[in-house]
Subunit: 440 residues, 2 copies
Amino acid sequence: VGREHVLSAPDELLGFNTDWTGRFVGNAAAVVRPASTEEVAGVIAACVRNGWPVTAQGGNTGLVGGGITRAGGVVLSTRRIDDVRVDSAAGQVIAGAGATLGSVHERAQQTGLSYAVDLASRDSATIGGTIATNAGGLRVLRRGDTRAQVVGIEAVLGDGSVISHLGGLARDNTGYHLPSLLCGSEGTLAVVTRARLRLSNQLAARAVALFALESAKSAADAALHLRREPAVEAVELMLRLGLALVCEATGLPAPFPGQHAAYLLVEVSAGEDPLLALEPIVEGLAAIDVAVAADPAGQRRLWAYRERHTEAINTLGPPHKLDVTLPLDAFAHFVDTVPGVVEGTRPQARVWLFGHAAEGSVHVNISGLDPDDEAADDAVMTYVAALGGSISAEHGIGRAKVRWLSLNRSEAEIAAFGRLKQALDPAGILNPGVLLGQRI
Amino acid sequence: VGREHVLSAPDELLGFNTDWTGRFVGNAAAVVRPASTEEVAGVIAACVRNGWPVTAQGGNTGLVGGGITRAGGVVLSTRRIDDVRVDSAAGQVIAGAGATLGSVHERAQQTGLSYAVDLASRDSATIGGTIATNAGGLRVLRRGDTRAQVVGIEAVLGDGSVISHLGGLARDNTGYHLPSLLCGSEGTLAVVTRARLRLSNQLAARAVALFALESAKSAADAALHLRREPAVEAVELMLRLGLALVCEATGLPAPFPGQHAAYLLVEVSAGEDPLLALEPIVEGLAAIDVAVAADPAGQRRLWAYRERHTEAINTLGPPHKLDVTLPLDAFAHFVDTVPGVVEGTRPQARVWLFGHAAEGSVHVNISGLDPDDEAADDAVMTYVAALGGSISAEHGIGRAKVRWLSLNRSEAEIAAFGRLKQALDPAGILNPGVLLGQRI
């Protein structure tokens, strides 16, 4: 890769060995920055020969320690593989793993199309990272997660062999579907170097409304009602203390004169008049207060209350970040009761809830805890599983949640995962300790 | 499974040992008909102990010999596992592998929803079979293939272990995505016993039009133009001889007074007035003739010309059935030239083209050839691959296309498939000879 693309000085390594939340600190001995799939294959082959662990890293915005290694070896940064090319005839884009989500959005928009996956860290998060975690983000309700967009993939497997199937044909059943298998595999099966992604038509005219509601439970109930409205593209839940913290930490003005127990941010998209599409929703919700934005600048201002939650919570020190999905009929009950579950375990903890309410999904952040004190995490995870929910909605298992995987997956399933891992990474060098922990 | 559900008399086996086209004849020694996942696990475990091959079979409507075994052993019929339950709150259905596609459609419709995958053999084809082949069908353009619908799966792996993850949560990243991996794996990794599938809203009001066009090439060009019209749900190509054969073999009346070189069947769906949505399409196409149906009975009559192609072609003897996708910019050229490629190789062959033109996909049926004479198949496959296309759009590789897989997939990819196969079916008893042939 060239000497200048191997970093090994302690100060150069620091940023690659510490995750975005500051909770996970790794011990990679070097960072290698290949510029092509061939160079990635060369790096992997060298690591196989030497038995060095390889941890792929994109924008390092992951939230479960999946891009941080504690097994030594090298961090393989994909950031230099950042080419983006739109195939407008097919309505698809081919992007290098190191391209940021934001750069893909920009290129898609230039050709009158859009990429469905969007999240707050769009200017740092990479395509490779969003594939490794099967990122969901803000528009899963109508447009699906990352796996639903990946139509072709190029990657280097754990034995150094290169697979590349980037034709993007609409119908193509010629073997096992490696794009779907690698999507969500958290760097444990292969290093993804390039992908072909489905693009969508640009959203029709949009309107955004922020509703103030009288309780977390009524907001959660309302969100599940809203998911059936065809014009609704996103429904995001926030609570009183979270919104107040966002305003305090970022200097944003409060959206309403008073504070309220819960808030729903609702985005609608409609061919004709999106404000008209909002009307029955406003009437149906009977909210305490509502702020509506039809112009892009106003919409960005309302979205900022939601998107700046992570940043605001981080000002309180490294949080424990949980990210769960509940069965729809258990969601409102969970939102209502989970703060009590945490406080019953660790009275000093503060709980922050926000997220993708229309899908029964919510980010549970906990601050005020020692990074290694997992009692509250354990209580929440056990509670989620008891209600039939998923302990990882979209962040993945990483290192942070390995110990709870068996709450959701049977021994037979975890054993099958282990055999798949061994099939594609026989030397066990790819991201050891992540997803499957030390079990294999 | 009970003695009455093990068939071994030659006349009982005949239907399970012969595929729908009559081209593939197998040699299973018995048919076993389990009624539950547990019984499937018991059957697989017994086969592992005895080294007996197991070929899963649903409706036996596959077209590439994937449900027919030439390795002896047992055919495992899933037909008795045919429960169907709609979860209307989640907008999903849980269906046994042996449920027919038609029964899932019926149950979905009863609750005001619909299942996106539809194909002509809907009343025989099973959910398990459509998952094994990742069936596409008639509405892939807007609603995706089977893989896009499968949100949860229950299956018995090749070692007899049961995996079951049927919660169907919208966001759930807890390990490798087995539903996507098993979808399209053609019974070589596991026997799928049950799935949770995404349902869609019912199509808005529809209209169907049949256009007569002056050449195959102009019809193919027009199809690719139509894929960009938002109201268009399906565009199916037919040619002069195919439509004439359908009328002759089935007794359907000719759609137009004269015969024409090519036909496009176009279905539109629009909230308000679908006939209005058809108007610009009719104007833009400048067809020789057009027949329009706004009522369901009339629409079924027009669809019948397309759907009864397979049945009509079968009256000429077992055809060779190829099923390919071309890059969009090569599609019209392929449609125009592939009959010459076949006739150049086997002058006595007759070529029938029909299929999903909006996605660059077409069924190439060849009649008048000995079942084992693969020279024309080889010429077509080589031609498709040279143009950058897929040798299997939606039928799968089965037994019929094993020898051509390497035209589309590299040695590294096929080796990875083999290692995945070994990971989930270590004894190699599941559908030996299918997809990967004898290579593993």
